[in-house]
Amino acid sequence: MYRPIQKRERSGQSKFFALSSVFFSLLLLYLPAELQETPAYLIRTTVLKPFILAQEYLVQRRVHSIEVESLQIRVDSLLVVITSQATHKEENMRMKDLLGVAEKIPYGHTSSNIIRPGTPGSEGLFLLDVGSRQGVSVNAPVVLGEGLLGMVQDVQKSSAVGIDWTHFQFRASAMTRDGSVYGLVRSDPGGFREADRLLIDGIPFHQQLNFGTVLVTSGLGGVYPRGIPIGEVFAEAESSLGWRRSYWVTPFVTPGEAIHVVIISPVEDELDYKELWNFGVDSSGGSESNERVILTDSVGMN
């Protein structure tokens, strides 16, 4: 049914409301960051909630439809492995007991689906369908089978907001796999979003990286555990007046491919993640990334 909007009116009161609206928007804009999160959270959990739930449903359906065949193959492979190694499990547990060795993956890992808001200003952000109830905390690293995707920025009870490496606030302390060269990895925006790439900066001038050198998190920043793959060096960016070098890095994880991720709880986790990604033998920190074997799903890490 057609319901016409009321006819316009001209009054000082109307101008007052208009200017008040603009003033209120400025007030929101200049609120402290910690206060801004509350209204944003309220909007996400009220008005926008139906749209987010619908997107979660669609994402889940898409994940299910895409991965059924792939998962069936993996399940079949796992069944073969489990059947053939059934006796090894008990043997392994006894050995661990005798040696006092901990479990390979400690507790504190949570898997989640990723949802992209797709609204202006949310570039580099994603929503997670898990929150503090599932053990997710602020600054927790978010990883895929191929390596580091980003970190958790904000946590609610049953949801969280994260940033991937394309976000302008992304920083990670990185090193070569042998720990000989350290630097700081940050996002460098390209001419368009798909051309975003990573840059490792702060490398002393006397140290040089070969193209193809794999970079992993160093654990120095206190946010990312040591050993999570970030990407590989593909070109030198600049040498700043003989003080330091920087290199362009091709990330192992493309944000667009991230549908299902694993969130690491840094509080409970002191594992060296280098052991989880089998890159083969490399004493130089090096250039044989093509030979690396990647664990391509979270099942592999468990």
């Binding site: 001209r10 801004q36 949310s122 606030q169």
Partner: protein
């Protein structure tokens, strides 16, 4: 005495555009592939409502859009509320119903909204002006212009039937 023209936009249409915008951009995740229907809805509404109502509507739409802005909350609210105010002021200057006028109206509205957002978003989250406005913002404004003309034609046809 000049007769008052009948309103050609209904709240139902505005609500439909708002829901469709959120559905396309948020639920289906089309992002910039979907037109900015918030701008279309606001510019259509401000042609019929008072200055205060238009600006308030802009503020509400902006706050909705700000739901996912972690570092620049309020930037959308500012850009939309100012757009509501400006479009409410200029509607008396630019009077016309032709498709070209309407296309220009929506084009300029969308461009102004992007410009205001770019100004308000802050240095940290801001991409270089050239990267944003050439040609992205121009294409987005053209897109909104075309969609806006289509929506206003549909709205006018519907109002005539009623």
């Amino acid at each position: 005495m000049q007769a008052q023209a009948a309103p050609r936009v209904s709240w139902t249409l505005i609500l439909f555009l708002v829901v469709l915008h959120l559905f396309l951009r948020l639920t289906l995740g089309y992002g910039h592939s979907a037109p900015d229907l918030f701008v279309v809805a606001l510019l259509l509404a401000t042609r019929e409502v008072s200055l205060g109502t238009g600006s308030l509507l802009g503020l509400l739409l902006g706050i909705l859009e700000d739901g996912f802005s972690v570092v620049s909350f309020g930037a959308h609210a500012f850009s939309f509320s100012v757009l509501g105010l400006v479009s409410g002021r200029i509607r008396d200057i630019f009077v016309g119903d032709s498709a070209i006028f309407m296309a220009a109206y929506f084009f300029l509205g969308k461009f102004l909204r992007d410009l205001l957002y770019w100004i308000a978003v802050g240095d940290l989250a801001r991409d270089p002006f050239i990267d944003i406005f050439l040609p992205d913002a121009l294409l987005a404004a053209t897109y909104v212009g075309l969609v806006g003309v289509g929506v206003s034609m549909v709205s006018e046809t519907t109002s005539r039937r009623v």
